[in-house]
């Protein structure tokens, strides 16, 4: 077993790995080359990547149509905003709090609706997202500041020496979080959890008849997706220093949905491509701002017609199998 492990290490530097290192290099160099504005664009690319990854768990891996994902994002952002401005708790300490709050909320809200399928679930989640947005507008207990939102959120900091306050620092902050999320999600994809999720997406009854607790794994996906969206909300809130309900509209949920569809359901590289399209598109087409949505809609339609599997569909078999754990290949 030991020598097979080392032989696996030798095959570690494949062409794909080379590509990966090249992309990583570009990511590290980019903010030092680009100006602040483009570094910020890349930061929002990171936010959308994280949101896309979070929805990808629910929509891509398990096939649950969740069109209210902006609700979880909002909860992460508002928890951060309220606890930071009212109680002065540091933003970084609120990172896990946002995640747990969004996860708990997802658990409570999704438990009763988890058995719904397809379009039914879709409608209920739209309702959920809208209820959260309207609740924020209505300023419950004078906490959310109504339509104006909450202002004056701190920068994330560790003590007084390490403060994330520049575009470059935010850029690295979000992309490090995205990086760890990707590692965790790839590991999940290649575990029994990821397989169980995919089985449910493929055939719920067969999954159940093969010993997979469908309800549990669907809820797990929602909870994990919500937690990641909550983290994105936390970082977003501290970057903008203010949160308001319009940032978490139905449109935002739709954009996340598009990210997953553009990239390819269940495909992590696909999500990155989708997030790039969604976040960079408005920048590239700024001169034609008036026709932006027209072009966007056309692209989506053409996409669904000619490449329904997404830009980078998840590849199964060879490539995936190779990465399934540190497992020797006895044959072939």
């Amino acid at each position: 077993m030991e020598d097979t492990r080392t032989s696996r290490l030798n095959s570690f530097f494949s062409p794909q790995q080379g590509m990966l290192f090249a992309v990583l290099g570009i990511f590290i160099i980019y903010p030092f080359v680009a100006n602040n504005y483009y570094t910020d664009v890349a930061f929002f690319f990171g936010i959308y990547a994280l949101l896309g990854l979070s929805l990808n768990v629910v929509l891509g891996e398990v096939g649950l149509f969740d069109l209210g994902h902006a609700g979880f994002y909002a909860i992460g952002a508002y928890i951060t905003a309220i606890l930071n401005t009212k109680l002065g708790i540091p933003v970084l300490a609120l990172l896990p709090v946002s995640a747990i709050a969004a996860a708990l909320f997802a658990y409570v809200v999704c438990s009763p609706i988890i058995h719904l399928r397809g379009d039914y679930l879709c409608i209920v989640t739209i309702g959920m997202g809208e209820i959260i947005r309207l609740a924020l507008i209505n300023n419950p207990f004078d906490l959310t500041g109504g339509p104006n939102g909450v202002f004056g959120i701190d920068f994330p900091s560790l003590g007084s020496h390490f403060v994330i306050d520049s575009s470059i620092e935010y850029y690295f902050f979000i992309w490090i979080v995205v990086g760890f999320s990707i590692i965790a999600l790839i590991r999940l994809q290649n575990s029994r959890i990821g397989r169980a999720w995919n089985c449910i997406r493929e055939d719920e009854i067969a999954a159940n008849a093969n010993g997979i607790n469908v309800r549990y794994y669907k809820l797990l996906a929602f909870v994990l997706g919500a937690a990641m969206a909550g983290i994105a909300g936390n970082i977003y809130a501290s970057k903008l220093m203010c949160v308001s309900p319009e940032s978490f509209s139905f449109m935002e949920s739709c954009l996340m949905f598009c990210i997953v569809l553009i990239g390819g359901m269940g495909s992590i590289p696909g999500v990155l491509i989708g997030a790039a399209v969604i976040s960079l598109f408005p920048e590239i087409f700024r001169p034609f701002a008036l026709y932006r949505m027209l072009i966007f809609g056309t692209v989506m339609i053409l996409m669904m017609m000619f490449r329904p599997g997404g830009a980078w569909p998840r590849r199964r078999g060879g490539a995936d199998m190779r990465s399934i754990m540190n497992i020797r290949r006895k044959h072939g």
Partner: protein
């Protein structure tokens, strides 16, 4: 004679007692009693609409029965959820093949090992040694099962892309990967050509030799007669006859159920 002894001496692994399942005004299964003995191949036959698949769905937890009990290995499993029943040791296949079409053949079988493994989300994210060993074991079981059904060459193909007959075998392999005590097969030979059916029969017999009990719904009489140790006949939701295959084959009530109540036709059969 020795064969008759097999039925009377071995322990029952699955029993249904007074099983009743009602859909609206239709009693699909009506006070159905049956026993599957350890290590035997027991066939459930009957005309279309007799309630065979409903019995399977009740036994495997997809439906909850209105009355009666299902006992597996001495434990009452009535009303348990499908995933609990699989974990308890009853694996099944479906009449219309239900694979995970966009997953590879090997992944399909690995899914069968789900209920025999325990790594959680954090274990999978941090790749604990427990999770690694478990994943290694899952892989080994899946590989041995895929070889057993002769699909090793297709292991990295998507399940939807392999031939129909191979899909049937893959579904059985996935069920076997759950390490069952009882394998419930719903019309495994439907859609197979005579050669594939022959292979299936040999395969099922070899499984029974390893002391796996098999409960099988089958329409192909050659298969039923060829492999069964015991045959149960259903009609209109109730058991109407059971016995060794050759006895059942000549039972007038069975002939009646299949061919209708015309005496001349019943006599004409065989």
């Amino acid at each position: 004679m020795a064969e008759t002894d097999l039925r009377t001496t071995t322990r029952p692994i699955l029993e249904t007692r007074n099983l009743t399942k009602i859909f609206g005004g239709l009693t699909a299964v009506n006070n159905f009693d049956s026993q599957v003995r350890e290590g035997e191949i027991c066939s459930l036959i009957g005309p279309n609409g007799a309630g065979k698949t409903t019995v399977f769905n009740v036994v495997t937890g997809i439906y909850k029965p209105e009355g009666g009990t299902v006992v597996f290995n001495g434990n009452d499993i009535t009303g348990q959820k499908p995933h609990q029943i699989v974990t308890g040791g009853i694996a099944r296949t479906f009449q219309n093949i239900r694979l995970f079409p966009n997953m590879t053949c090997l992944e399909n079988i690995m899914a069968g090992q789900h209920c025999r493994s325990s790594a959680g989300m954090w274990g999978s994210i941090f790749r604990t040694s427990h999770q690694k060993n478990e994943e290694f074991h899952i892989r080994e079981v899946a590989e041995s099962r895929i070889r057993q059904v002769g699909l090793w060459e297709s292991r990295n193909e998507l399940a939807k892309n392999i031939a129909y007959g191979s899909q049937r075998m893959l579904e059985i392999a996935r069920a076997l990967a759950t390490e069952p005590g009882l394998l419930a097969l719903d019309e495994p030979s439907s859609g197979l050509n005579p050669h594939e059916t022959e292979e299936l029969m040999v395969f099922l017999k070899s499984l029974a030799k390893e002391n796996l009990s098999i409960f099988i719904i089958e329409h192909d009489m050659n298969v039923v007669m060829g492999i069964s140790d015991w045959v149960i006949v259903m009609d209109e939701g109730a058991g109407i006859a059971e016995g060794r295959p050759e006895t059942v084959y000549h039972n007038p009530r069975v002939i009646e159920a299949y061919l209708g109540y015309d005496d001349q036709q019943a006599d004409g059969e065989n």
